[in-house]
């Protein structure tokens, strides 16, 4: 789920940081710039791994900073498609389940990737799975006895497979004034979202599979 990306950039080191060893100062600047940010089509940056190449620092006309050209490696969070990861359920709604890994929580499991047949229990605000049930409509499922239902509750640890990831780079366009009234900005999409699946044997809350034998797997 983590990878190393090689990035090239130019950073300025402020004179107040001249007391530090240069590699430390450069690393600090890079961490300040990248840590916990999403880089388009790369992933969520965690921190600098190491510096591969650093040019000599140069002073430009106009400021007292030392400018370095740096090639460095960075630890990036980007689970690859088909990777299996562990996450916690953050919340559920009619459209699916939202997961979190603590430092990143734009992970979604849409309805189509939930195990069949599932239904959303609006009282519990959670999806449940009815293993072995023939019923297909939500009404029939909601009539099932509570004891048969296997709920996916908030806070559960789930094993999911990464299906796809999307990057959105929403630029804040020029302010659109419509008849003199400033438009309310439509809600912005998160810059990086991961879509995961639970619709497979062995996926879903880890507690479901703790003592499951191989027999069930073979029919699946």
């Amino acid at each position: 789920m983590f990878q190393l990306s090689i990035v090239k950039d130019t950073v300025a080191v402020h004179p107040s940081q001249f007391g530090l060893p240069p590699q430390q100062a450069v690393t600090n600047e890079l961490n300040k710039k990248y840590a916990n940010r999403v880089l388009h089509d790369v992933g969520l940056c965690i921190c600098v791994f190491d510096l591969s190449e650093v040019s000599e620092g140069r002073v430009r006309y106009g400021d007292g900073c030392l400018w370095y050209k740096v090639v460095f490696r960075m630890v990036v969070f980007r689970p690859f498609p088909s990777e299996v990861i562990l996450a916690r359920v953050k919340s559920s709604d009619e459209d699916g389940i939202r997961l979190s890994v603590g430092f990143f929580d734009d992970i979604y499991v849409p309805l189509v990737y939930l195990p069949e047949p599932t239904a959303f229990d609006s009282k519990e605000r959670a999806h449940f799975w009815l293993p072995g049930s023939e019923s297909t409509s939500a009404h029939e499922l909601l009539d099932s006895p509570l004891t048969d239902r296997m709920y996916i509750d908030a806070g559960d640890v789930v094993r999911v497979r990464v299906e796809s990831d999307d990057f959105h780079d929403d630029e804040p366009g020029p302010p659109k004034a419509h008849e003199g009234v400033q438009q309310v900005q439509e809600n912005r999409r998160p810059p990086y979202t991961i879509t995961c699946s639970m619709a497979e044997q062995g996926l879903g809350p880890t507690s479901w599979w703790q003592n499951a034998g191989v027999e069930t797997m073979e029919e699946g």
Binding site: M1, F2, Q3, K32, V42, C47, V75, E83, M217, E218
Partner: protein
């Protein structure tokens, strides 16, 4: 900014966790020293020299660092019972079977000890490794220091103190390609979380005076 290589290598969770813990302990050590120096100066009656903290704490880095450490060392992750030697040995053992790189990485990250877990990770497990499945699971089990507590379903063995686990660090094959830049020292991993808050609070008090 230019991305030269989007994915030059894959990292295992254990590697990332060690890196972050090292960063964290470095950071704690620095704040402690800065705090001590400040106190000494004040005790000596020197005028408070204006000195920015050695590296002004980058909020983003601290946030992601703390949250990622939390996630990676959570009790449902196998990292608690993993060790560098164990992982190195595991990757060597896995080398004999025809597993893809991604499958090996996931076996290291998730440390499957039950067939169900292995089925999810390895595609067409039956056809490819029908009879060798138990060998793989045993290899994983032997790479873990202690049976992982509860989550993976193995109930024998009780959770033991995790601080005891990393005692010696010798560089091993698995991490070899990274070690030249990354001096991982097992002793630095141990950090004291409560120290930081106390330190900062003390700091503020001093400032108020």
């Amino acid at each position: 900014m230019e991305v030269l290589n989007q994915r030059s290598a894959l990292l295992s969770n254990y590697e990332v966790l060690s890196l972050l813990k090292e960063l964290e302990s470095d950071h704690l050590a620095k704040t402690k020293t800065a705090h001590r120096i400040k106190k000494e100066e004040e005790a000596a009656g020197l005028p408070p020299k204006h000195q920015a903290p050695p590296d002004d704490v980058c909020e983003n880095l601290r946030t992601v660092e703390v949250e990622a450490i939390q996630y990676l060392s959570a009790d449902y992750q196998p990292t608690g019972s993993q060790s560098e030697e164990g992982i190195a040995q595991l990757t060597r053992t896995l080398g004999q079977w025809d597993l893809t790189k991604a499958e090996k990485l996931q076996i290291v990250n998730l440390a499957p000890t039950e067939p169900v877990e292995l089925y999810v990770i390895v595609e067409e497990l039956e056809d490819r490794f029908g009879d060798k499945m138990d060998d793989i699971l045993n290899a994983v089990k032997s790479s873990l220091k202690e049976p992982p507590p509860t989550v993976n379903g193995t109930t024998e063995g009780q959770p033991t103190e995790e601080t005891m686990q990393v005692e010696t660090t010798t560089y091993t094959e698995y991490t070899e390609e990274y070690t030249e830049q990354w001096d991982y020292d097992a002793n630095e991993v141990v950090f004291d979380d409560t120290g930081e808050g106390a330190g900062i609070e003390g700091d503020l008090d001093v400032d108020d005076d």
